[in-house]
Amino acid sequence: MPAGLAQPEGGAVVSLWTAILVAALVAFGTKLAGHLVPAHLLESPRVRRITGALPIALLAALVATQAFTGPGGTFVLDARAVAVAVAVVALLLRAPFLVVVVLGAATAAVLRALGWA
């Protein structure tokens, strides 16, 4: 790391690199750990049902936090909530995927441009 060593506080630059590499390693290790769980532990019908339902619970939770929480995790109803509502209506009307996504984006963009949410 020549750039870091050339600076007066070279140690600090190395520390930032260390933090980056440790964080990246933990993130990848977490992903890999899930893929390395022995297959026989995940084979029973009951465990299969539960792991099959995992993405449903996680993705629903992810959408909910992305759409309905603001700074500090507080509950917020703004342009994102309206956009999700519009997306749900579009899905109920069997709109294609791209239409749903574009409607969601356009709803939030227009509400924000108008200063309504």
Binding site: L21, K31, G34, L58, Q66, G73
Partner: protein, 234 residues
């Protein structure tokens, strides 16, 4: 692993649909890479350091949290690592289902692990057929990986020329996309109950718990599938 040729046996209509989903999710996510690159430089990271995060960490929420906290100085490094790690836990849980779905070993399993993120998982589980699920996972993962890294690089070099992605509603586009990808799985009452419970738990816990933990805690909603055979894909 399934070879590329095997994807050819999937229904053409379903294949086109999954390609459209993968590409549109990839493009929307890519736009956020510009924000990430610009934010990383503002936080004091070099282009190389931002690129290492996008190349090696490769999980957007964790990356944003990491640079947001490290911007406060190196004293915040343990907090930055803790925050990015907590936000990454859900990827490990996605992997429990994906490892079964993808059926890969060796080096391909390592590649699958690296591409295990919200977007690739959502597109994979949205498909009815195993073949299109696999195609969706790999195509979305690779598309997001390439665009995320290219746009991160662009963001660090020229700054955030496109401005706040929220101006274009791209945050809402992501919410709409995940909702649409979840939609086909909500065909029965048990799956709906799991989704609603997960969503409520996450929102209720959000004000009192560090980012990432509410979503992981909401995963407990999948235990509703303990008794019911209907919630999981047949």
């Amino acid at each position: 692993m399934t070879s590329a040729a095997d994807f050819g046996t999937a229904d053409p209509g379903a294949r086109r649909a999954v390609v459209r989903q993968a590409l549109s999710v990839g493009v929307a996510t890519g736009a956020y890479g510009v924000s990430f690159g610009a934010l990383a430089v503002t936080a004091g990271l070099s282009t190389w350091q931002a690129m290492v995060l996008s190349l090696l960490m490769f999980t957007g929420g964790s990356q944003f949290a990491f640079v947001g906290i490290i911007a406060n100085g190196l004293g915040a490094a343990p907090a930055a690592i803790a925050a990015s790690s907590m936000l990454g836990i859900r990827n490990g849980l996605y992997a429990l289902e994906l490892t079964h779905l993808l059926g890969v070993r060796g080096a391909r399993r390592v590649a699958a692990a690296h591409l295990t993120i919200d977007e690739s998982t959502a597109v994979a589980v949205a498909q009815r057929e195993e073949l299109t699920s696999r195609l969706g996972f790999w195509l979305t993962g690779v598309t997001v990986f390439v665009l995320w890294n290219l746009t991160t690089l662009g963001g660090t070099l020229v700054g955030n020329l496109i401005g706040d992605p929220r101006t274009y509603g791209l945050d809402a586009a992501a919410c709409a996309a995940f909702t649409a990808l979840l939609w086909p799985r909500l065909r029965n009452r048990d799956a709906v109950a799991i989704a609603v419970l997960g969503a409520v738990v996450a929102v209720v816990l959000s004000p009192t718990m560090p980012p990432g933990i509410p979503v992981v805690a909401a995963a407990a909603a999948c235990l509703l599938a303990w008794r019911s055979p209907k919630a999981a894909r047949s």
